[in-house]
Every structure is written in structure tokens, then in C-alpha cells.
């Protein structure tokens, strides 16, 4: 806090007993008016999300601290600027490779299924201002991200990031530019596949941001890149580039904002899915910390992100159960969590029973929270919101 230092001085103009009286009154009022907070499990969830997000940025900042040590092996950026960039075929072009040693983790791919492969990358082991590459392969297609880690004074994002996709003798390159919403830096955001028991929260805070995904019905794979826009309450952008024998299609960005994005496999058809959540629910009925964001499942097909949430009822059911559990654990600030549950139930086609549950909770005086709307007003506002966003008809 930029406090202005003030000189010590005596304040004789008012008698101490008068101040003591005011102080006593203040103590009493603080005791009487201090609001109740039932933070419960929601605080832990919110903190976990924030820590993961910050960790990604902090890793690169930590890298900057080793600048002096690693400067000796840094690659001149000009070596990469000479590489032609853009869409389409670039025949006989050699994939970007660093001219000096620091090839950090080009470790083998993780492949939870035949239609999905992501790189593994830990930038904490990469020095500052260091050129690195990381690779993932799916069938005959290999994608390689080459970039230079940040260095002082800014020390955060990557620079000169280029992705190269190789299939047979063809190589296609595309510059990885910051998302439109970003503060100018390219910062990776993990798209790591979820473990079997997780739904919307990525459990592994790695920098596995480069994935090749073969969505059902597509002739070839799609390259997905996870990016972070920075700032608080923001942050995730999934960038998709369709790979075809003639080149890379123009990148398409999906900004999932506060909701993280991860990959998983559909229990319905076994194909890959992008798992995220609906940011529209953030702050809608309570603070962000207590807002529940219902699950949203996407695929990238035909050059666009397509919502396939309704086609995967198993995952939606799991998500709904999670929100109801969270609501039951938050007696005084659960209306944001309940909203996510109702939304999931609407997706599942259970709107009548969900609204009956709402009415029961209303009759039992359970629809209370620290902010408006509450009670019947909450039910009305929720129904209108769900109708407006296509979840339920009123």
C-alpha cells in the first residue's frame, strides 16, 4: 500500500475519554454487523483454480531469473525470423530446430486414446531466453512447437513461437500469435487430458498445450494449442488449426474465459472432447468464488467449434452431481452452485424435475444467499437466465 508517511504529532484537541467512547461503540458495531461467511469447500476450489493459473505464469517468470546462466546457450532470434511463416504448404522447408543445445523436454507423447495426443512440457526446466522445442505425434502427423522463453526485463511470455506440422515430406508452419484478448504475450495453457475420475477441473498443471486431436468424422487431425490471456478472471483460449494435406487452415480461437479447457474421451462415442464450462454463469448469481459453471463439451469440426454437451449425458450427469453436492455443502451461499446444477439438469432433459426441486427448496426457505436475488426472485431470475442462454424453456 502506498501509505504516505505522516509525522507523529499529538492530538490534544479532543479528550481521550471521548475517543474511547467512540472506540467502544465501534467495537460493538463491528461485533454486531460483521456478516456471516460460509466459504466452505468453494473457497478451496476457487483457490486451487487460481493457483494453477498463476503457476503457469510463475514458471516462466522463474525461468527469467536464470537468465545470466542460460544466456550462453540462447539462440539468436534472427535465426528463426528467417523462417517463412504462414498457411499452406512450404515444400522442402526444414523444420525449425535450435542451433544450440537447449532442447528441453521433447519427451514422448501422452496418448490416452488413438485419436488424441499431447506433448509434455515443463518450462520450469528451461532457461531464460532459451530456444526450446516440444513435439507431439498422432499417426503420421507430427506437430512441433518452437519458441523462446521470456527473459528480463519482461520475463513472462514466449517469443517467436512457431508451430510446425509435418506429414510425410510436407511441412507446414504457423506463427503462434497472442490471442486477441491477451496482453501481448504468448503464454501456454495446459490442455492435458483429464484423468478418468475428473470432469471439469484439470488435475495436472503442466504446460501440455500442444495437442493433435482427430475428431470423429474429420478426414485429418486438428492441432489444438492452449493459450492463456493473462489478467485475473480471464484466461483460457483454445486455438484450433485443421491439418490437411494441403496445409494448415487459418487458426480459430475459442475464448473460454474463466473456465479452464482440457481434453478427454467421450464415454458416448469414444472420440475426443474439449471439456470446458459456461462462463456466462460467473458472477451471475453470486461472487465468482461461489459461482458454479456448468460443463460445456466442444469439438472442432468443419472449421468451427461445435457444442456437443447434449450428446454426452454421462459427463453432464457427473457434473450435475458435483454441483448438487457443492450446493448441499454451502447452506448460506449456494445459489450460484445450484444454478449450475439446474443448467446441467436442463441439458439432460430433466427440466421439470429440476424446477420441482427448486420449488421444494423455495418452500423450505433454502434459496437464500448473501446477495439478491433470493427466494422466489432467484427462481424467476434463474429461469429467465436459463431460457436466455438456451438451457431450458420456461
Amino acid at each position: 500500500m502506498p501509505e504516505h508517511d505522516e509525522p507523529e504529532h499529538d492530538e490534544p484537541e479532543r479528550e481521550e475519554p471521548e475517543r474511547e467512547e467512540t472506540a467502544d461503540r465501534l467495537r460493538r458495531e463491528f461485533g454486531r454487523q460483521a456478516p456471516e461467511f460460509d466459504l466452505g469447500a468453494s473457497l478451496a476450489g476457487r483457490v486451487t483454480g487460481l493457483v494453477r493459473r498463476r503457476r503457469r505464469l510463475r514458471l516462466v517468470a522463474a525461468v527469467a531469473a536464470t537468465a545470466a546462466v542460460m544466456a550462453a546457450v540462447a539462440v539468436p532470434l534472427s535465426a528463426l525470423r528467417s523462417t517463412p511463416l504462414g498457411h499452406g504448404v512450404t515444400p522442402a522447408m526444414t523444420p525449425t530446430t535450435p542451433t544450440t543445445t537447449p532442447t528441453t523436454p521433447t519427451t514422448p507423447t501422452t496418448s490416452p486414446g488413438p485419436a488424441l495426443a499431447c506433448n509434455t512440457l515443463d518450462l520450469s526446466t528451461t532457461g531464460s531466453a532459451t530456444r526450446f522445442t516440444t513435439t507431439t505425434s498422432l499417426g503420421p502427423v507430427t506437430a512441433t512447437l518452437a519458441a523462446t522463453t521470456g527473459g528480463p526485463p519482461q520475463g513472462s511470455g514466449l517469443s517467436d513461437a512457431v508451430v510446425t506440422v509435418a506429414e510425410g515430406a510436407s511441412h507446414f508452419t504457423e506463427a503462434v500469435t497472442p490471442p486477441a484478448q491477451a496482453n501481448g504475450d504468448v503464454v501456454l495453457s495446459s490442455l492435458a487430458p483429464l484423468p478418468a475420475d475428473a470432469v471439469t477441473t484439470p488435475q495436472t498443471p503442466n504446460d501440455d498445450a500442444l495437442c493433435l486431436v482427430h475428431f470423429p468424422g474429420d478426414a485429418g487431425p486438428t492441432l489444438l494449442i492452449g493459450l492463456d490471456t493473462g489478467y485475473a478472471h480471464c484466461c483460457t483460449v483454445v486455438r484450433a488449426l485443421t491439418v490437411s494435406p494441403t496445409g494448415l487452415a487459418a487458426p480459430v480461437d475459442m475464448n473460454t474465459m474463466n473456465a479452464p479447457a482440457s481434453l478427454t474421451t467421450s464415454p458416448t462415442d469414444g472420440g475426443p472432447l474439449i471439456v470446458t464450462a459456461d462462463n456466462a454463469f460467473a458472477y451471475q448469481f453470486t461472487s465468482f468464488a461461489f459461482s458454479g459453471l456448468p460443463i460445456r463439451l466442444l469439438r472442432f469440426t468443419g472449421g468451427a467449434f461445435v457444442d456437443v454437451t447434449k450428446l454426452n449425458p454421462d459427463l453432464v450427469t457427473t457434473d450435475a452431481r458435483r454441483w448438487m453436492t457443492a450446493f448441499n455443502a454451502n447452506a448460506t451461499n449456494g445459489l450460484g452452485l445450484l444454478a449450475a446444477w439446474v443448467a446441467d439438469e436442463c441439458v439432460l432433459g430433466h427440466a421439470p424435475s429440476a424446477y420441482a426441486t427448486l420449488n421444494g427448496l423455495l418452500a423450505g426457505g433454502k434459496l437464500v444467499g448473501p446477495t439478491a436475488p433470493q427466494g422466489a426472485a432467484y427462481v424467476a431470475a434463474l429461469k429467465a437466465f436459463l431460457t436466455q442462454h438456451g438451457y431450458c424453456r420456461s
Binding site: 500500500m1 501509505e3 504516505h4 508517511d5 505522516e6 509525522p7 507523529e8 504529532h9 492530538e11 479532543r14 471521548e18 475517543r19 467512540t22 472506540a23 461503540r25 465501534l26 467495537r27 458495531e29 463491528f30 454486531r32 454487523q33 460483521a34 456478516p35 456471516e36 461467511f37 460460509d38 466459504l39 469447500a41 468453494s42 473457497l43 478451496a44 476450489g45 476457487r46 483457490v47 486451487t48 487460481l50 493457483v51 494453477r52 498463476r54 503457476r55 510463475r58 522463474a62 515443463d122 520450469s124 477441473t201 488435475q203 498443471p205 485475473a232 458472477y283 453470486t286 461472487s287 465468482f288 468464488a289 461461489f290 458435483r322 457443492a326 451461499n333 448473501p370 446477495t371 439478491a372
Partner: protein, 179 residues
């Protein structure tokens, strides 16, 4: 929603002891910190977010063993974050032509208590530096020396700010009583 158990230290190793203690701190101190944040920023929902931000900021240092007194660290974080938040809102409102005066949201603060004053509202009339010392002194029950250490100012400065704040609040409290 997962807990802090999903978070690993920077080296990738899990740190179960630190997680347990941190989880306990969230359960034990979250409420108190939220109350502190509420009286500093005057907005309940923002207070909850500030507390989450404070815990998230503390976790890396705590898990690395660089925080001796987690409670004190969190309290200082909340105070600093509230000040940062206030400055941010000032900047935003200055650049937003449609901005209106920030309305203080104090839902339920004095419901059913039969009081005529809204303490959070009254505190907002104080200069921020005075508000902080009043809240730390009379809500958190910190000594003037402790407040001085937390804010990084001389004890005499804390004392003078408290005096001025009490003088400023006296008339408002009395005025409210006679309203």
C-alpha cells in the same frame, strides 16, 4: 470443486504437510479474513474474491517454506489486495464515462439487529489509510504496534490516523443515533 490437494509445488513434488496446514488455514481463517476484507472494501462478493486471491497468492510461498506465520501473511495480503482493488476501481471508474458512484453493497449487514447505522457505509467515508487502521484495530483487535508493522509505517502514524478516524466517526455515529 477440488481442494488444494491438486496443487503441486514448483518442483513438481507434492507437499502433503503443507497442503494439510493450508487447508486447515482456509477452514479456520477464511471467515475471519472475509470479514476483514468486507469492512475494507464494503462489498461482500468482492471480499470473498479477495480472500481467494490472498490464499492463492500465499500458497506458493507457503509450500516453499518461505512463510513463517501464515495468518499474519494472509491478513497483510488481504489488506494489500483491498487497497489494490480500490485503486483499480478508481482507475476504471475514471475511464468509464458511464460510471456512476460506486454503490456500497452491504446486504444483510445489519438485518434484524435493530441498528440504525451501517458501519461499512460509514467506514467508506474515511480516507482509505484511516479506514485500514480502524478495521485492524477494532475488528481485528490488533495493537498499534502490530498495525504499524503490518502497514510498514511508524507507530505514531498509526496513532494519529486512529485519532483522526475516531474524531471523524464520532459525529457520524452520533448523527446516526439521532436520525
Amino acid at each position: 470443486m477440488g481442494g488444494i490437494e491438486g496443487v503441486r509445488t514448483r518442483t513438481g513434488a507434492t507437499n502433503t504437510g503443507a497442503e494439510d496446514a493450508f487447508g486447515a488455514a482456509m477452514a479456520d481463517q477464511g471467515f475471519r479474513l472475509a470479514r476483514l476484507a468486507f469492512f475494507l472494501c464494503g462489498d461482500r462478493t468482492r471480499a470473498e474474491d479477495l480472500v481467494a486471491e490472498a490464499f492463492a497468492g500465499a500458497w506458493p510461498k507457503w509450500s516453499a517454506g518461505r512463510v513463517d506465520n501464515l495468518g499474519a501473511y494472509l491478513r497483510r495480503s488481504v489488506v494489500n489486495l483491498a487497497a489494490k482493488d480500490r485503486r483499480h476501481r478508481l482507475v476504471v471508474s475514471r475511464h468509464d464515462a458511464r460510471a456512476t458512484t460506486t454503490r456500497l453493497v452491504t446486504p444483510g449487514a445489519d438485518e434484524g439487529l435493530g441498528t440504525r447505522i451501517d458501519l461499512a457505509q460509514i467506514l467508506c467515508t474515511l480516507p482509505p489509510a484511516q479506514r485500514v487502521v480502524v478495521v485492524l484495530r477494532y475488528l481485528e483487535d490488533m495493537s498499534e504496534a502490530e498495525i504499524a508493522a503490518l502497514l510498514g509505517v511508524p507507530p505514531g502514524t498509526v496513532k494519529s490516523r486512529l485519532s483522526r478516524a475516531l474524531d471523524g466517526l464520532r459525529s457520524q455515529l452520533e448523527g446516526a443515533d439521532h436520525a
